[in-house]
Amino acid sequence: MTRFPSEAIPRRIIIFAILNLFVGLCFWLVSLIGQVSALQFYFERIGPAVLLLFGVLELSLAVRLIGSYHFDTEMCWAWVLIALSAALRIGGILGIYYLILSQEGRLLAVLISGPLQLVFLGWALALVLRVFARLEYVLRVRPLDWILLALFGAFALWTLSANLFRANTWLLFSDPLLCCVLLEVVLLYRAVSQMKGGLVAACWISYGVAVVLTAVSTVAIAASSYGLTPGSLMPLGYLVLYPAAAAFALGPAFQFEAISAAKRSADVTRSPR
């Protein structure tokens, strides 16, 4: 059985994400006993910095990965699009948390870190799916996947209909787009499962985890907003975004480690035994 890949960069990301989640949960627990400002401090100061860090990490690794492929290959363009998606997410974080923007400016920041970055991510994942299909991996959705997709699809339709005449038109596409990307990561997960482990599979599974966590966060926040769950649980919906951001950074980190390990393998074989 293949051991779980735990190379240097991914391991550090996972440890940091766990620590950050622990800190976030501590702040949330403190807020439950009346210290709401503590949670506010976390979400306004620590949280954005962590999101930015993960975003920059994803971007820098994705940019390095672009050079590993010939520019005319789909995988190269997939990483270009992933890098663009990460850049847009960074732009959104900067716009929302760090730059002093007008209402319209903040809305634009939400737009580029939401639906727009999902368009690029979805495009990238479509290219990756095409590569796996060409390599004769079976792209099939299982019954359990259909349930997940149907649930989130129903949620997306519900939010779309509920906000059709209220919210910003472009932001309305966020949940339906997320639903499409969810379908892609499910297909991708089923494809890479056939690899039976390995760093490359871990890369695309990370993107799957990231998208699923983003969907979970979206549903949790909406449920609290509409009063379906207690308001005190709403911060948990936002906290889920941090492991999601870590998973987005883990994707290129695993791919980077895979390529490094492949290059190292030739050196090890060459070295005298």
């Binding site: 590993s68 690899m195 492949a262 393998s265």
Partner: protein, 137 residues
């Protein structure tokens, strides 16, 4: 003859080859593809030196190999993959591309299809390094 050849090939790769069966076929010549594989690849494999040496004097026709081509190929190259020199590369492959790729390479050399897969998933440079390390054994 086909059964006999299966026994011969099987006995090469099992820990306790039947001496009697080996002796009965040792005077026949191993020709064609299997012979080449044995001569080119198995001579470094300690367990196979004796077998290859004896079998090289015998005679097994290519016609016989035709039906068993995949079986023979799989068994022979699995043995190559289990050689000490190559074990590290197979383990690297398993970590990088998973059990599926390791199985496919264990049962044969890096096929053109697998080469395409390596290049598509890892890029040309990394794929070349990996293939070089796999064939270095």
């Amino acid at each position: 003859m086909r059964t006999a050849f299966r026994v011969l090939i099987g006995s090469i790769f099992f820990r306790h080859p039947s001496e009697e069966i080996l002796k009965s076929y040792s005077r026949q010549e191993v020709s064609g593809w299997a012979g080449r594989v044995i001569r080119e690849h198995l001579l470094d494999c300690e367990r196979c030196i004796l077998i290859a040496g004896e079998a090289s004097e015998g005679s097994i026709s290519d016609d016989l190999l035709a039906d068993d081509f995949d079986l023979v190929r799989a068994n022979l190259l699995q043995a190559i993959a289990s050689q000490p020199a190559n074990r590290h590369s197979i383990e690297s492959l398993r970590i990088i591309l998973g059990e599926r790729a390791a199985e496919k390479v264990s049962y044969g050399r890096v096929s053109p299809q697998m080469r395409i897969e390596f290049e598509a998933l890892l890029g040309t440079g990394a794929a070349e390094s990996l293939i070089r390390s796999l064939s270095a054994g």
